[in-house]
């Protein structure tokens, strides 16, 4: 594993973040005063049992959810203070998403799915097509551009989802159980691809996973239990 270059400011700075859900009269604290720094170029795996708060933490870092308490900065922007419209625009410009079940739009071809985030930019149609083609080429699916999701295997669909996540060159890539629905072979292909994006292209990645083997592809592994960070490990350190 290569050494992380020291960074004066972390890309993601989480300070005293708590998250409480209220279901009727019940009050559930999912995260409890979490402090965390994620430097630029990191590949962080978040692990923990179900209900430990790892997906909630990931959603907050990605600007999909807001903390009940504490502060959350990404690249110097206090995203916990943004309105829903500001957050949407911020996500479009800064975050790429990879989901467990790929979440591609079934009626669109792979190419059109990858182009989706670019619809929110001012790029011309030709430029959008070209960028999507580059992203598909990067994930090894240039020859499947015209295929609909149901014409692709699970591993291929996840690679299309990764192409969609990186096509707008985001600051941050968040992956929620990206191999949870894949067989071992496809999972390794996807993880290798994510690792390559981190090492060769310097993409900062945060991945939630249950799978210790998947976590081995990351630079760092954090364990959460009942909403508290309990362990931090540098892979290969």
């Amino acid at each position: 594993m290569s050494e992380m270059p020291p960074t004066p400011e972390p890309l993601v700075a989480i300070r005293g973040v708590s998250k409480v859900y209220e279901r009727g009269r019940q009050r559930i604290e999912v995260l409890h005063h979490v402090d965390l720094d994620i430097p630029e170029g990191d590949f962080l795996a978040l692990m923990g049992p179900s209900g430990s708060g790892k997906s909630t933490l990931l959603n907050m870092i990605a600007g999909l959810d807001l903390p009940t308490e504490g502060s959350l900065s990404v690249a110097g922007h206090r995203i916990d203070r943004m309105s829903s419209t500001e957050l949407a625009r911020w996500r479009a410009a800064n975050v790429g998403f990879v989901f467990q079940f790929y979440n591609l739009l079934p009626a669109l071809s792979a190419q059109k799915n990858v182009e989706l985030p670019l619809l929110l930019t001012r790029l011309s149609a030709a430029r959008r097509r070209r960028n999507a083609a580059i992203a598909l080429d990067l994930v090894g699916l240039a020859d499947r551009a015209s295929h609909k999701p149901n014409e692709l295997s699970g591993g291929q669909q996840q690679r299309v989802a990764i192409a969609r996540a990186i096509v707008s060159d985001p600051t941050l890539l968040v992956c929620d159980e990206p191999t949870g629905d894949l067989d071992r072979h496809s999972a390794e292909e996807v993880l290798t691809l994510l690792q390559r994006l981190n090492r060769e292209y310097g993409k900062t990645m945060i991945m939630v996973t249950h799978d210790p083997k998947a976590a081995e592809f990351a630079r760092r592994v954090l364990h959460l239990d009942k909403g508290i960070l309990v362990e931090q490990a540098e892979i290969g350190a």
Binding site: A88, R91, N103, A107, K112, L116
Partner: protein
């Protein structure tokens, strides 16, 4: 424009459902186009200017006859060139379902008044001479297989024969044709001698149903119509003189307020359409909640998602609606011809405008509830399937 593929992808997600919905919308708007054209045709303000044939009938009702004696007074009205008359007989040939219009007329002046009814000279002479003679249009003769020389019995519905017979019998002496294809509807009528009718009937002798007036100068028709009616003001038989087309339409209007009937039918059709399309849209959005959540995750704002869903409903309505209106525009000339040109039905600009307005209104009505639901979607819950 760049969102169009996204829009069509959403519509094409369930092709059969979208196609069926489009067909429903198209059918509703085709019906709207045709009925609205009929409504406009009935409600359009009519002017007698430029029309040289006027009809003078009773002011009270179309079924109220006028005295024969009025003929001379109408003839003497300044600007009147010629006058003839006719009545409604309402005879039935064999079976009520064989209904066709049959009128007793004054043969010579009536045929002069309607040169568009083309009759061979020999047959015309025969008609003028034979008191029991009748002429029919080509379409009617073909329908019943009649030929010159046949005897045509008609069972009266209003005027029994004074000799107590149950039928009036006519000798077919001629078959006329319409001079222009658009007047072919006039070939579905039968004409016979008013004298024979008047002498044979038990009631109403000395009266006619209406007078047909040709004016010397069509541009003066309004003034002449008023002059005719003024002569009979405060008499026992007040008249109403109008253009021939107005008279024909008023015949049809006897079945009721066409505008109200059309509006009621369309209200029912569109109410059903709103329920149907609204349900389809709601179902479509319910099925696509995870996809909409993905769009929001990728950075589509709440407003963008709202507009996308609204646009989907509007495209569905506009596409289906325009198909329907085009179908109506194609069907209306056929309907117009079938009415023998009596109904001037065509898709007018106001019908197109009203149609597009309705499409937009229904689109907003059916699109807004699911669009608001999509806009308020919580990303985390929607992605988690909650």
């Amino acid at each position: 424009m760049k969102y169009l593929p996204l829009l069509f992808a959403a519509l094409m997600r369930k092709k059969t459902r979208t196609l069926l919905t489009l067909l429903s919308v198209a059918a509703a708007f085709a019906l709207f186009g045709m009925l609205d054209a009929v409504r406009v045709a009935f409600n359009a303000p009519q002017s007698v200017i430029g029309i040289d044939r006027l009809i003078t009938s009773s002011r009270l009702s179309l079924i109220q006859p006028l005295p024969y004696a009025d003929l001379a007074r109408i003839q003497s009205t300044p600007g009147v060139k010629a006058v003839t008359y006719a009545s409604w007989f309402g005879g039935i040939y064999q079976d009520p379902k064989n209904f066709f219009p049959n009128f007793p007329v004054e043969p010579q002046s009536y045929l002069d008044m309607y040169p568009e009814l083309v009759l061979p000279q020999a047959q015309r002479q025969a008609f003028l001479k034979m008191r029991t003679g009748a002429i029919v249009g080509r379409a009617l003769a073909d329908l019943h297989g009649w030929k010159v020389g046949d005897k045509i019995p008609l069972r009266p519905t209003i005027y029994p024969h004074r000799d107590g017979g149950e039928v009036w019998t006519f000798d077919l002496v001629g078959i006329f044709e319409a001079a222009q294809p658009e007047l072919r509807g006039s070939e579905k009528q039968m004409l016979f001698h008013h004298t024979y009718f008047d002498e044979g009937r038990e009631i109403g002798q000395g009266t006619v149903g209406w007078y047909i007036v040709r004016v010397e100068d069509a541009s003066q028709a309004d003034r002449i119509a008023q002059a005719i009616d003024r002569q009979f003001t405060n008499s026992a038989f007040e008249t109403r003189t109008q253009s021939e087309r107005e008279f024909q339409l008023s015949f049809a209007k006897q079945i009721g307020d066409i505008g109200l009937i059309v509006t009621a039918i369309m209200a029912a059709v569109f109410f059903t359409l709103v329920l149907l399309t609204g349900n389809t849209m709601a179902q479509s959005i319910r099925e696509r909640i995870p996809e909409l959540a993905v769009l929001k995750t990728l950075g589509f704002t709440n407003r963008a998602v709202l507009l996308l869903v609204m646009a989907e409903a509007l495209v569905l309505l506009l596409l289906g609606g325009l198909i329907g209106l085009v179908l109506a525009a194609l069907a209306l000339p056929v309907i117009g011809e079938a009415s023998s040109g009596q109904l001037d039905v065509a898709m007018r600009p106001e019908s197109w405008l009203l149609g597009v307005g309705l499409m937009a209104t229904i689109g907003i009505l059916v699109g807004l509830p699911p669009a608001l639901k999509a806009m308020r979607l919580g990303i985390v819950d929607a992605l988690a399937g909650r």
